[in-house]
């Protein structure tokens, strides 16, 4: 295995068996996160961001989910072939997650300290090189973790219930929990989007600083393109279960290539003012009678006959910039 990548997803298909038939949600997703790299993963509601993430974390219920095709490698190990026990060993220790809603991700009936200590002890139990920590050591570690996310007075916060903290503080607690076991890979699902901009900015600054210092690889899942621009080095754009484009963040936002990305960026209201675009005509397609070819073709103003027949391959425009669109292939264009 190539060990320059923290996460490799190759040609991943995930289907769900539902009452009406088979819902073909992911249609060949490719995604790579290099070691130490911060990667953004953007797309609108229902495009399959969460399903992809759940597949990586081994959180999909099989059935109803089916993975007919595809591979997921985490630091060189095949996630789809792991046993539950092996998965437990890496979850929360080597990879961890920050969830979107800081209220729902914390248990309201336990104190912050109890929940944080649980996370620390969990890792000790499952990590192969498990060292048993004394009660005091666990406690100290928890206090240190709360201090690192700049929560004022960690000793007091440790005895607070989630209800007693503000949204921003809860989000900091979640970051502390995610980082306390020193993971090498972090998946952040919409961090801070439930918060106000000023608090969100504080959270993102803190997160960027912590992951940079520890050289943690990050996959940041969000629909907020501004957040991706501010915090990541490379970005993947997903539409209806297909990755349509990937490039270094600055390149992609300056010069989007895929018609969907272009439409998406034109819809974003700008701080400099000016009229926003008309949006993208049509709506997101249904996954049950999933479209063949490029799933964007019914909404695309450049659509050609070939678009509805065959899925476009990735075309390399510059090193590191790939787009899945026939406009840029020699045959199609």
């Amino acid at each position: 295995m190539d060990d320059q990548y923290m996460l490799e997803i190759r040609d991943l298909h995930v289907y769900f068996r539902v009452y009406e038939g088979v819902s073909r949600v992911l249609d060949g997703v490719y995604l790579y996160v290099a070691k130490g790299e911060r990667v953004g993963f953007a797309g609108e509601t229902g495009c399959g961001k969460t399903v992809t993430m759940k597949a990586v974390m081994g959180m999909l219920k099989i059935p109803p989910a089916i993975i007919p095709h595809g591979e997921i490698f985490l630091d060189g190990r095949d996630v789809l072939k792991m046993s539950q026990r092996e998965l437990l060993q890496i979850k929360g220790t080597e990879i961890s997650m920050i969830f979107q809603d800081p209220m729902n991700a914390l248990n309201p009936v336990f104190t912050i300290g109890e929940q944080l200590c649980d996370v620390i002890r969990f890792a000790r139990r499952y990590r192969s090189s498990g060292v048993n920590l004394s009660k005091k050591e666990v406690h100290d570690k928890a206090i240190a973790a709360l201090g690192e996310v700049r929560l004022p007075d960690p000793k007091r916060i440790k005895n607070n219930y989630p209800l007693e903290l503000s949204g921003g503080m809860r989000q900091r607690v979640l970051i502390a929990m995610a980082l306390v076991n020193e993971p090498s890979f972090l998946i952040a699902d919409e961090p801070g989007t439930a918060l106000d901009v000023t608090i969100q900015a504080q959270i993102l600054d803190l997160l960027s600083e912590l992951v940079k210092n520890r050289r943690i690889s990050v996959l940041l899942i969000t629909h907020n393109l501004g957040v991706i621009q501010e915090t990541t080095e490379r970005v993947y754009i997903m539409y209806a279960g297909q990755v349509v484009e990937t490039a270094p963040t600055a390149v992609l936002f300056n010069n989007p290539k895929h018609p969907y990305t272009q439409g998406l960026l034109a819809s974003v209201p700008r701080l400099t003012g000016g009229q926003i675009a008309e949006g993208i005509p049509g709506t997101v397609p249904d996954y049950i009678d999933a479209l063949s070819g490029c799933r964007f073709h019914p909404r695309c103003s450049h659509a050609m006959p070939v678009c509805s027949m065959k899925k476009p391959p990735f075309t390399m425009l510059k090193p590191d910039q790939y787009v899945a669109c026939y406009l840029y292939t020699e045959k199609g264009g």
Partner: protein
């Protein structure tokens, strides 16, 4: 832009906090603490601020979903604060509201047709069924939905389509003023773009006035002609939108704009440097003494702790509530900011 359609003067709204069996009052949420603004006919007025700043309460109090604690609201020259519920009919027909979450603002057990017919019946716009069906069809066409949607239920609609229905419901009574309370915050950007375009089109077509409440500054920049910034129940800065974003003078406004995540270099260039030391919005139950922003403000000095500054007109049409506004005016002048150049004084 002509005479004001709506004049809000020193609006105050407190909510009692009650506990126990006898509902003893133990305190007050001071949601709105003296807000004055005017909205001209045909204008889109933006109201921004963090959650808990009281911006939604202002909107809801203006359309009289809440009874104001004190202050006056004049609509088309009539004081509506003193009117009793039964005399508010004319006003409620003229002023409508669109809520944030179309999932909870539409009744899931009623078809779109029945939802849209309701205001027509209440306000005696169309008495017979055929007329109503015709109007409902027109309303759906107005918000760019196919008339076939009439017989569907909200569950069969996407978020954007539901918000279109909510807009159609507001338009049913032919209002001149609509309060839009975060109308697109539950939607994806590409859907948001369509709804915003629709709202702009309707505004032009029917000469509507909007109070556009939002926490999304970039969006407010796009749509509003004037913008007010709220913090803990008060307006801290009010100016034409362009001026507010190019020459923000209050440290809080600057902090807010500096925190907006943006996607282009041009936007990054216009973002000011923040003037705060972190921290969060204080509770409206126990707001800080003096200027409410002083615990977070990097310009704060002793007077800010003691005395609430007045909302002063520092330039024509540009109001700021800050003791140290001269610092920001001076630095803006030094940077050659066009808006501040005309300003004379200290």
């Amino acid at each position: 832009m002509n005479e004001p359609l709506l004049i809000v003067d020193d609006l105050v709204k407190h909510f009692p906090i009650r506990v126990g069996f006898f509902q003893r009052q133990i305190g007050e949420v001071k949601a709105v603490e003296g807000v004055s603004l005017d909205i001209r006919s045909g204008e889109i007025f933006g109201l921004v601020g963090e959650s808990g700043s009281g911006k939604s309460t202002v909107g809801k109090t203006i359309v009289r979903l809440f009874k104001p604690t004190s202050g006056t609201i004049q609509f088309k020259g009539k004081d509506i604060t003193k009117l009793k519920e039964e005399n508010l009919h004319f006003f409620k027909k003229d002023a409508q509201m669109v809520f944030q979450d179309p999932k909870s603002s539409l009744n899931p057990r009623r078809s779109i047709k029945s939802t849209l017919e309701d205001p027509l019946i209440t306000h005696k716009i169309a008495q017979n069924g055929n007329d109503r069906t015709k109007i409902v069809r027109d309303l759906l066409r107005m918000v760019e939905l196919s008339p076939n949607y009439m017989y569907k239920y909200p569950s069969a609609l996407s978020g954007g389509q539901r918000q279109r229905v909510a807009i159609a419901r507001a338009l049913a009574v032919n209002p001149s003023f609509i309060v839009l309370d975060e109308p697109t915050s539950a939607l994806d950007v590409s859907v948001q773009a369509k709804i915003i375009r629709l709202l702009q089109k309707l505004q032009k077509e029917f000469q509507l006035s909007y109070l556009f409440i939002s926490h999304d500054l970039s969006l407010t920049r796009t749509i509003a002609s004037r913008t007010a910034v709220m913090y803990v129940g008060r307006i801290y800065e009010l100016a034409s939108t362009e001026e507010l974003f190019i020459a923000p003078l209050h440290p809080y406004t600057r902090t807010l704009i500096s925190a907006v995540p943006v996607i282009s270099k041009e936007e990054r260039r216009v973002r000011p440097v923040k003037q705060s030391r972190g921290g969060e919005i204080p509770s409206p139950v126990t707001p800080p003494k003096g200027c409410a922003f002083h615990p977070r403000c990097s310009l704060a000095d002793t007077i800010c702790f003691q005395q609430l500054p007045d909302l002063l007109e520092v330039m024509p049409g540009h109001f700021v509530r800050c003791h140290n506004v001269s610092v920001n005016i001076k630095s803006a002048k030094e940077r050659g900011n066009l808006f501040v150049k005309s300003y004379r004084g200290n």
